[in-house]
Subunit: 245 residues, 2 copies
């Protein structure tokens, strides 16, 4: 129930399945920062042998979600506040590049997809600041839909790969949990502004808006990094060893 028994990922190899399962467990916080990821145990948990689990862990390590030390195993990579800030700065640059390129390559279909994503985002904004896991998933998904569509229009294979695989994601997912309703609304305002800039082929504006959009998200998140709860929710490196007792 809280698990995803084949959440649409049948027909995949065991390794892919392991990858998706572990990944979502990390992103959504079921595996906490610093927690050890023991190949054998995870294998049991998902009824797989160590081989595909190991492969998945290595991929996640390349993505930066997992930290592993030779002969000692892997843990969920803790993220420091500095790293959050740096990651958002990086993401701002990358997506800004994506937006600039998208502006000169915009298609009707692409703009339509942006509109759809914007509508979905609007529909997914709850009335309150507090947000449930399910609501967060939907909101986060609508947000991804928008950003993915922009990157798609940028027509830059490696940039897409980088955005999808290398730059955060867990941060983005968790970010929406701590945003206020106002901040969520503001996010979509910027989505609309970016959309318009893209439609009119205004590359510089699109890039600047995207950058601003992301840095605003960063600031909202950073403003809440002091709250202990938030730290925990975002897996900031309180850990090392989680004193389980």
């Amino acid at each position: 129930m809280t698990q995803e028994p084949s959440g649409g990922l049948d027909g995949l190899g065991s390794a892919q399945r392991a990858y998706q399962l572990i990944r979502s467990s990390i992103i959504e916080g079921r595996y906490r920062a610093g927690q050890r990821l023991i190949e054998g145990r995870i294998g049991e948990e998902f009824s797989l042998s160590r081989t595909p689990v190991r492969e998945a862990l290595r991929l996640l390590e390349a993505e930066g979600l997992v930290l592993s030390i030779r002969n000692r195993g892997a843990i969920v990579r803790p993220v420091s506040p500095k790293e959050v800030i740096d990651l958002y700065e990086l993401r701002a640059r990358l997506e800004s590049l994506g937006a600039e390129r998208a502006a000169t390559r915009a298609t009707d279909a692409g703009i339509a997809e942006l509109d759809a994503a914007i509508a979905a985002f609007d529909a997914a904004i709850p009335a309150t600041d507090h947000i449930e896991l399910t609501e967060n998933r939907i909101l986060s998904q609508a947000n991804s839909r928008f950003h993915d569509a922009v990157i798609e229009m940028a027509d830059h294979a490696r940039l897409s790969q980088l955005m999808a695989r290398t730059v955060d994601i867990p941060l983005v997912f968790q970010a929406f949990r701590v945003f206020t309703r106002e901040e969520r609304v503001r996010s979509n305002v910027f989505h609309r502004l970016i959309r318009d800039a893209l439609e009119h082929g205004e590359a510089a504006r699109a890039g600047a808006l995207m950058s601003e959009h992301i840095l605003m998200g960063r600031d909202s998140l950073v403003a809440r990094l002091d709250e202990a709860q938030v730290k925990d929710a975002l897996f900031l490196g309180a850990s090392g060893e989680a004193s389980s007792g």
Copy 2:
């Protein structure tokens, strides 16, 4: 001696060794674009079992050097001219960010390292346009030393990882082969300009210079993409299937 029998990579795991060996084989062109990378064969070649080879291939896939299709195996990823251009644009942005950050974080030790790299680069420039593999290695190494030092000063862990692992490298290595002597000299002129901007903390200039430096490299490379030999040397996607007959 064209092989690297343990080129300083003893004391590493088999997987690491496999990774380094395959990687350098791709970067230096011993494995050509489109060539199949069969786990078993590579295992034999390096006296390893399939397991670590497989792990290495997966890492290289994440890096973008290898393309693999489920149940069909891996090949050396061919690179199209468009991709070369896009990759350089991406690299320009990333390194530009690195330079901007480095400007506000410069240390004496870091500047000293830049000076050392610049001196090494000067020393490595041959008198002629033509360049031997060994000379290219040394030149490329000096160049990496400079760029690594800048990124190091940027103090951005993920950015470092991205530069090291995700953005090209094979392109950079091959680029020096097709540069003229004049272009190599010009490269180091920009290295000096960047160094000075960093020393004086001028972030915007450092970023702009770095961007220009990389885009100039791109243009030099692109200008030679038509020559059939060069295409081959850079592994551009002539392939797919090399019509051997």
